[in-house]
């Protein structure tokens, strides 16, 4: 194990999905023994780059070399033979197997000790050496997420990885576990391993890495030495220049009216038992678009679901157009006046295997004219569908065709058509233009902006440009908290970028929640 890991050199790497490049002519250098931070917004191509490096995907073009020797990994096993191992964002462990069994799973007979006892003692030694404590005889289902991650890392070390690629390892960890992970990483580096650390979080990247590479929309936006850069510079590389984003030109003298959606002190438990939303307080008024910026996974989904009535808050109150909807279900929130375009179009917003006419009346099938006394009227449903298809320009539907075969833009228009056709006072739209082509995105955006004339709108998006373009008020969410609030005329993109990555958290915590809420509401 002496000496440093080989120098990994990537040149001109391109990988496309369906003709759209996920990474485009990327250059990347990982020196032996360094911790290299890989930053970028969601969808920037981080996971794709890592998956190419670990042999899961094959690049369309470009070269990879180790210490000057060109390599082409045909599979993760192949990469592993060259000492490159990856821990994926979503773990790949067999729940009912033990730690030791998982670690040797898929290894060739010749490469692994014959007895499980022997594997277990080797794993225990390795765990001791790197401070990745976990019981080799425990079953995976008995372990916490943090422990499962340690198993994944041990799996790669066991197979002789010198270069470790960790895809967003801290996204699933609590603070304490994060500290332990970084201790283990330092131990690895001290022994000559090198580590690629994919992250969204500015603070940890600045604190623990030697160098940083930023990906932006599949392109390398720059590689810098951590010691000689600032969070602001990195944030600018991630989210673009402040002057690049333009605001949509619309009536600045828009009258702001009464509250359409008010949250006060709302906290929500996440799926892992931690607080996913922590004390959210803000108001969306008639005539106002409030945009929530933030890197995905910071509680946005839970916040959307609690507003829509798909989750219950552990504390706080929610009002929709004057009706208390704190513990209402989805039916009641819709009745109170909430139109909801969920993040997950197929599967939540639409039943993918059913035809368009079914999905168009997904929320109004049980009312006149679509049904009377529980009996559906096919002709009324078809009439509604034809009207809305026309009005919202939904294309690509064939009679009886399952809706999942339509393109993303048309699916989104169909959802918007359904939601806006209901009586409503406030529109909640999550990632409304994600994955849409320019024309469809523009159409969706203009529907959203139209809503502002008479109603309130709350938009969630990971695309900061879009948030800035359409919003009157921008809220920033980080780790479940609303950490910043800006009116459209006092936007500071640099600061928003910093807040999104958590490095401005100290500044924002001086901002009391009351101050946040008054600013958002004014």
């Amino acid at each position: 194990m002496a000496g440093e890991a080989p120098h990994l050199k990537v040149r001109n790497l391109t990988k496309s999905f369906y003709g759209v490049p996920a990474i485009d002519s990327v250059d990347f250098d990982l020196r032996g023994g360094e911790i290299h931070g890989l930053l970028g917004e969601n969808g920037a191509g981080k996971s794709t780059l890592c998956s190419v490096l670990s042999g899961l995907y094959r690049p369309d073009s470009g070269t990879v070399s180790l210490d000057g020797e060109a390599v082409q990994f045909r599979s993760p096993q192949d990469a592993s033979r060259h000492g490159v191992g990856m821990v994926y964002q979503h773990f790949r462990l067999v729940d009912s197997f033990t730690v030791a069994q998982n670690i040797v799973l898929g290894m060739h007979k010749k490469q692994r000790p014959r007895s499980m006892r022997q594997v277990e003692s080797m794993v225990a030694d390795l765990a001791e050496e790197f401070g990745l404590h976990v019981d080799p005889t425990a079953s995976i289902w008995q372990l916490s997420v943090g422990e499962q991650q340690r198993v994944e890392i041990l799996k790669q070390l066991f197979r002789g990885a010198r270069i470790l690629i960790l895809d967003e390892p801290t996204a699933v960890l609590a603070a304490q576990e994060t500290d332990r992970l970084f201790e283990a990483i330092s131990t690895m580096v001290a022994k000559g391993h090198s580590v690629v650390l994919v992250s969204h979080k500015m603070a940890e990247t600045m604190a623990y890495t030697d160098r940083i590479t930023v990906l932006r929309r599949g392109v390398n936006a720059g590689s810098v030495t951590t010691a000689s850069t600032t969070p602001a510079e990195v944030a600018r590389m991630m989210f673009g220049d402040s002057n690049a984003a333009e605001r949509t030109n619309y009536d600045a003298a828009q009258q702001v009216g009464e509250p359409m959606l008010s949250l006060s002190g709302v906290s929500v438990q996440g799926d892992h038992g931690l607080l996913a939303v922590d004390d959210a307080t803000f108001t969306v008024r008639r005539g106002q678009i409030v945009g929530v910026a933030g890197v995905a996974g910071n509680g946005q989904r839970e916040l959307q679901e609690v507003i829509a009535g798909l989750r219950s808050p552990v504390s706080g109150t929610i009002e929709i157009a004057g009706t208390n909807c704190t513990s209402a279900g989805p039916k009641q929130t819709a009745q109170a006046g909430l139109a909801y375009v969920p993040e997950d179009r197929l599967g939540v917003g639409l039943a993918p295997g059913l035809p368009l006419e079914h999905n168009i009346v997904l929320k109004s099938y049980d009312r006149s004219p679509h049904s009377r006394r529980g009996v559906l009227s096919d002709s009324a449903i078809e009439k509604t569908m034809n009207e809305l298809v026309e009005k919202f320009d939904v294309r690509g539907n064939r009679s009886g065709m399952r809706v999942s075969l339509m393109s993303g833009g048309n699916l989104q228009k169909a959802i918007l058509a359904r939601e806006l056709n209901e009586d409503h006072q406030v529109l909640l739209a999550a990632a409304p233009t994600r994955g849409l082509d320019m024309a469809a995105a523009e159409a969706v955006r203009s529907h959203i902006i139209n809503e502002r004339a008479t109603r309130g709108v709350l938009v969630f998006s990971e695309d900061l440009d879009e948030i800035v373009k359409v919003s009157d008020v921008v809220l920033v969410m980080f780790k479940g908290r609303i950490v910043g609030s800006f009116a459209s005329d006092e936007l500071d993109l640099d600061e928003i970028g910093l807040l999104m990555t958590g490095s401005g958290a100290e500044i924002a915590s001086t901002d009391t929640p009351t101050a946040t809420s008054t600013r958002a509401g004014s």
Partner: protein
């Protein structure tokens, strides 16, 4: 690197696929069967003609086939309605026994002079309720604790079977006829027996067909069925639209249990005419699952599929009478089942060869990722 088979879901399934594939599968099975028959030293043409004559040629043969199809339609519907919501009720067998137990209790308990329509209605209602309650024993744990209904409904089959056996063989129960030397059920009074249409064919067939049409209407044309179809396709979308998945799970399992139980009512009242455990345990409930799968959970498809399976079954005994070994007959029946069900896969998917390199550029190759690890 080897080439991989690439399986893609078909988008729209046109009628040519929906009917063509099963018919093609049938032809394939008959061809394969002919080879087997020839090898076994039989004349395939003669065998197939006998099959056709004994099951579908002429009213006598047809009525025999329809009589056999009657309970299959009902258990097929029971499975189909649950499958529509992706609830896997494989407890049709046990629910059928409960229907038989309930109905025979009513038939024996009410005065024999009760008018037949009243008697039969009471038997249907009590039998259906018994089956529904039996299904709820699996539905409630599923709805509240997400207990796997495949396991619970299967277990309940064994309990129902033991219960029925105990009533007749293990106790001096109300159902058992003490005068018979070999344990058996009391014979139902004439007023509790489903009127015959022709030979063994009784009005249960009408009940079954009406049930199929009603179920189709319920699923396709009512807002209740709208919810079932939504939940079956995507429970998350259903929840988003404000539907109660829990309540529907219980309702659908209860309905499914009631339908299977009506098959039991029909059998006990129209065929065995008393609670006869041996005659009632002929896997009608389990066969209903096959029926539902082949009919792609479409209630209207259940009727022809049941008749088709019944036809294969009725022709079996005749094939034996012309000297074909019983094993060969079973082989032939199994072959036809198997190819038609396997053909189902090609109705919903297309299969082609793909080189691994090209497939890696396409959609997220989940199966390849899994295989790579």
């Amino acid at each position: 690197m080897r080439n991989r088979l690439r399986v893609m879901p078909r988008g729209v399934t046109g009628p040519e696929v929906r009917f063509g594939v099963p018919l093609g599968a049938l032809a394939f099975a008959l061809l394969l069967g002919a080879i087997i028959l020839a090898f076994a030293g039989n004349d395939p043409i003669e065998a197939y003609r006998t099959m056709f004559d004994s099951s579908l040629n002429g009213w006598k043969a047809q009525s025999r086939t329809l009589a056999l199809a009657t309970p299959l339609i009902l258990t097929g519907l029971a499975a189909a309605v649950a499958f529509q919501m992706r609830v896997y009720n494989i407890g049709g067998e046990g629910q059928l026994y409960l229907g038989a137990i309930g109905a025979s209790w009513v038939g024996l308990a009410l005065p024999a002079s009760t008018p037949t329509p009243l008697m039969l209605s009471a038997m249907l209602i009590v039998g259906a309720l018994a089956g529904a309650c039996w299904a709820l024993l699996a539905a409630i744990p599923k709805a509240y604790f997400n207990a796997d209904e495949i396991i619970t409904t299967l277990m309940l089959n064994f309990i129902a079977l033991s219960l029925m056996n105990w009533l007749i063989f293990g106790s001096r129960s109300f159902w058992r006829d003490p005068r018979r030397p070999v344990p058996g059920g009391k014979r139902l009074p004439e007023s509790a027996i489903m009127p015959s249409i022709s030979g063994r064919l009784h009005i249960g067939i009408i009940i079954a067909i009406v049930a199929a049409i009603f179920l189709w209407w319920l699923l396709r044309k009512t807002s209740w069925g709208f919810q079932i179809r939504t939940i079956g396709d995507s429970p998350r979308a259903a929840r988003y639209a404000g539907m109660s998945v829990r309540r529907k799970t219980m309702a659908v399992l209860a309905l499914s249990g009631a339908l299977a139980a009506i098959a039991g009512v029909s059998e006990v009242s129209g065929v065995t005419k008393g609670l006869e455990p041996i005659a009632l345990t002929s896997n009608i409930g389990f066969t209903g699952i096959i029926v539902a799968v082949v009919a792609r959970s479409n209630p209207l498809g259940v009727v022809p599929v049941s008749i088709f399976l019944a036809a294969i079954a009725t022709s079996g005994s005749r094939l034996q009478s012309i000297g074909i070994d019983v094993e060969v007959v079973f082989l032939l029946q199994g072959l036809i089942f198997l190819t038609v069900t396997a053909g189902e896969f090609f109705v919903t998917n297309t299969v082609s060869l793909a080189h691994p390199d090209t497939s890696a550029t396409g959609s997220p190759p989940t199966s390849e990722i899994k295989a790579a690890i």
